[in-house]
């Protein structure tokens, strides 16, 4: 039997196994709290915060996977990222509802205009 065990398979996009913080002397501290706060603001207030949380969360998770960021904040970062995704989805739904409402208003105005024009032509 070999003295060395087989290295575990890595998920796609991870070029080398995660390292401990400070192992390469380049590890950044995590920003999990900031990402989580942005994500929560994205859900309860403005979806734009959610977009920022999603982007920052994605970056930080990637950095943690390749060992460039302190992985102890992974839970907070993931939570913030998910809140950011929810906030962004809510923003998109809100925009879709607004556009449908605007189309409805345009349709009503067009129908009213056509009816008024038809009434004027058909009058005595």
């Amino acid at each position: 039997m070999s003295q060395y065990s087989t290295p575990p398979s890595l998920p796609p996009g991870m070029p080398f196994p995660p390292t401990q913080p400070g192992m390469l002397g380049q590890s950044m501290p995590h920003r999990g709290v900031l990402v989580l706060v942005l994500g929560i603001l994205g859900i309860i207030m403005c979806g734009v915060f959610g977009v920022i949380a999603w982007v920052m969360g994605n970056r930080d998770v990637n950095q943690m996977q390749v060992g460039r960021m302190d992985p102890s904040g992974r839970g907070l970062t993931d939570a913030g990222r998910i809140c950011g995704i929810i906030g962004t989805v809510l923003l998109c739904l809100q925009v879709a509802a607004l556009l449908i409402w605007l189309l409805f208003i345009v349709f009503v105005i067009a129908v009213a205009g056509a009816t008024a024009a038809g009434g004027a032509r058909g009058g005595p």
Binding site: S27, V33, L34, C46, G57, N62, L91, I105
Partner: protein, 142 residues
């Protein structure tokens, strides 16, 4: 010349997922639609769900009107409408320029980049800034 595909690729490299791009695009479409309705129908459109539900403005309320003012080049009036929004737009522009410049210049060490945003104090500072802006927006009645 930088192609659109190259910009999207670079944004993906920086963690900007397609969904996030869609979110920003959706928001831009909503702001544009609201500006058009306001201009041609004279009706003010409230995009903010928070304001619709609670009746009070959220910290970013006034962003649509600030965008319209920015589009006209009136930065001062936009900053009076919503200072935080104008600061976010300025930061986004600086970040975009920095992203392009960084690709052509020497990189700083990865440990130095973004380290100032770590720790609970950064989140506390964000909450303080958002809170001050919210107080201002409430006082102004956006």
């Amino acid at each position: 010349m930088i192609s659109g595909r190259a910009i999207v690729h670079r944004l993906h490299e920086h963690g900007v997922s397609t969904g996030a791009m869609l979110g920003v695009s959706a928001w831009a479409v909503a702001v544009l639609a609201a500006m058009l309705v306001e201009r041609f129908a004279g009706q003010e459109v409230t995009l903010c769900v928070f304001k619709r539900v609670t009746g009070s403005p959220c910290p970013m309320c006034g962003s649509t009107r600030a965008t319209a003012l920015l589009a006209r080049g009136d930065v001062g009036a936009a900053a009076v409408m919503n200072p935080l929004f104008v600061a976010v737009v300025a930061a986004a522009i600086v970040w975009g320029v920095w992203m392009i410049v960084r690709a052509r210049t020497a990189r700083r060490s990865r440990a130095a980049r973004g380290a100032w945003m770590s720790g609970p104090w950064a989140a506390a500072a964000l909450l303080v800034v958002v809170g001050i802006n919210w107080a201002y927006v409430l006082w102004r009645g956006n």
